[in-house]
Symmetry: C2
Subunit: 378 residues, 2 copies
């Protein structure tokens, strides 16, 4: 089975690049005394998790309890569910615990800690928790200097049914940086925030064994991880055009692409159309390209995934991708109707979620494997 | 089973509003001598198609061959696949024909017509085709005045294995209009374009029985459909915040919403967080809200889906939705952790694609049905 035999659109994963990305981060982290807890929300695949650790004996991060259940069934037991926990989900957490999972939960208010404690008593359960810390104002968590941080740590320490296990932050702000220098700075900002939070909690007399930070950019560019016990990263396994735009990777480091067929030429507007649109590529606008233009992916040759020259998916409808040929060296006849292209996506996590499986290649156009994903919320 | 019993995020469909939207368009079209060929790419559900026509004896439009197969299995036989056809998909089309489908295909180049003819001979098939016409420069098709239009009609008429069945246009440009007046104008522009194309083809001596136009805004606001034999519309069954922003509907006409749980408060940034993010709502930015701000959906009360006052999903991560309370009358305590909200989505077609099924309600908070969707590409 080869690329040309596939129905399009299809999600293609290059195993060689995947393995290289995984090895590169592992190598970067070798010098630090902290563990990697990969975020599997990107890949949602046990086959890919096995590329990180063949026997799956590793701690992981997930973004849904459906992922937690799926990875538990595949033998992964140490699972951080990195979205603030609410009472309605604790029955499902208890179910996972009963099946053998060590589930670590996240929260950032005394209200949530109290609710978790109440649920724990009802369910006859114990819930280990991290407190989310806000290092950049971009998502959730308490500021490292917030008085409430100590209140939450205290609640988790003293309330029955919950356990104070540490602190966690995610530096979404790293997605707004440009180039290595800025990412080094924001990685240090993230480290400073999370270690300060941990220090304050410990000085207030509460335990804080886990100090967890991460995002692919900050884990990649951190110059120090002093005081950090674990790092998290997700998209590093695939990389994508957002990571490329930030300077985290090169286009040749992107393992994921969408295989698509040229379906029409629109000569009057000087563009071609492909059968990958907003559903196949996602509607995520990502970052502008080097011309300063928004786009939905970089267009590449189907066989070897080498980029065409300055060729972008310029807009999209549900099942149509539009590729403008203006300011490129190409004419429509360079893209015969029925020929294939591959698109490097803006945001790999979101694009991949549209597909049930990966078509795995290994540097050639032959499909060597099909790897399933666990999408949705169960 | 009630809304509060559901795991979130979940896709909620209000059957009363759905039925009202369906009835309203049918009523608007009563005075015209043209048929409705609903575009089922929005709902991807036989249960919803049955609300349009209980015995499914209607012509339909689809955006994937997977939809075509699914609806055929449910008894719908007259199917327009409204994405330019390529040779690689014709074997699947032939398979659908063999199972009883009357498949109408779309193309807009002599190259595609020639390729379809060659495939038809190889497959021992006949492929009825429409020629796509470009009424607004926004997607595919030939301009009504293009010389190539006659070339394609001629090719479809004269080549073996293909049949010239008519012309089709889609006015994506209507999504850039504002208010009824502009939409009346663009609907007439669409009608003029497609009837001009049909006239030219007929005057050149070729048959052109089908004259098909459509988009929800233009079908809703057309003041004349003279010369048009069929109209297509998809999102009208649900409506969404893009349609509301254009002036096609009111928020109370939106049948689709995402049920979500409040998972955290972020007091320092004056926002709350919900468990519906880029995957649950889609990353489609839609239109700006009345404040001129981008958003990912309008926040409503869970029970009755009435909107809160000026409350929007202001940004999102994969599984986090962020709702700013700035410039609203609310404080975090109005949204207890664990409480539910419903979000009216920007683009219903894209949001719905993230879910395997609809949770159906009927004006109350009780789940009366579960309706499956046929997602992806088969």
């Amino acid at each position: 089975m080869q690329l040309t035999d596939l129905n399009t659109p299809a999600l293609i994963l290059d195993k060689s690049i995947l393995d290289r990305n995984i090895a590169l981060l592992a190598q970067r982290l070798e010098k630090y005394d902290c563990i990697l807890r990969p975020h599997l929300k990107t890949c949602k695949s046990a086959d890919i998790a096995r590329r990180i650790n063949p026997d799956l004996s590793m701690p992981v991060t997930v973004s849904t309890l459906h992922e937690a259940e799926y990875f538990l069934e595949n033998g992964i037991t140490d699972i951080l569910y990195a979205v603030s926990i609410v009472p309605g989900k604790l029955k499902q957490v208890k179910h996972l615990q009963d099946k053998g999972a060590y589930m670590i939960l996240l929260l950032d208010t005394v209200e949530a800690a109290t609710l978790a404690s109440t649920s724990a008593l009802q369910l006859d359960a114990e819930f280990p928790c991290l407190v989310e810390v806000d290092c950049d104002g971009k998502r959730a968590g308490l500021k490292p200097e917030a008085p409430e941080l100590i209140d939450v740590a205290k609640a988790l320490t003293q309330l029955p049914g919950v356990q104070m296990k540490g602190v966690m932050t995610h530096c979404g702000g790293s997605y707004y940086c440009q180039g290595e220098e800025e990412m080094v700075v924001i990685a240090e900002q993230e480290r400073t925030a999370i270690t300060k939070a941990a220090d304050r909690i410990q000085k207030a007399g509460f335990e804080c064994p886990v100090v967890s930070m991460g995002s692919t950019p900050t884990v990649t560019f951190a110059r120090s991880l002093d005081g950090v016990t674990e790092v998290r990263a997700g998209v590093y396994v695939f990389q994508d055009m957002v990571m490329q735009a930030l300077g985290v990777c090169k286009t040749s480091d992107i393992a994921l692409s969408v295989l698509s067929t040229v379906i029409s030429h629109n000569s009057s507007e000087n563009r071609i159309l492909i059968d990958a649109g907003s559903l196949a590529l996602s509607a995520d606008p990502g970052k502008v390209n080097p011309n300063g233009d928004p786009h939905f992916g970089l267009v590449c040759h189907a066989e070897d995934c080498k980029p065409f020259d300055n060729l972008w998916v310029t807009s999209s409808n549900q099942e149509h991708g539009l590729i403008s040929l203006t300011n490129t060296p190409y004419t429509p006849s360079d893209f015969p109707i029925g020929s294939q292209v591959r698109i490097l996506p803006n945001h790999a996590c979101i694009t991949a979620a549209a597909y049930a499986e990966y078509q795995v290649v290994d540097g050639s156009d032959e499909i060597t494997d099909r790897w399933q994903r666990c999408n949705r919320w169960g």
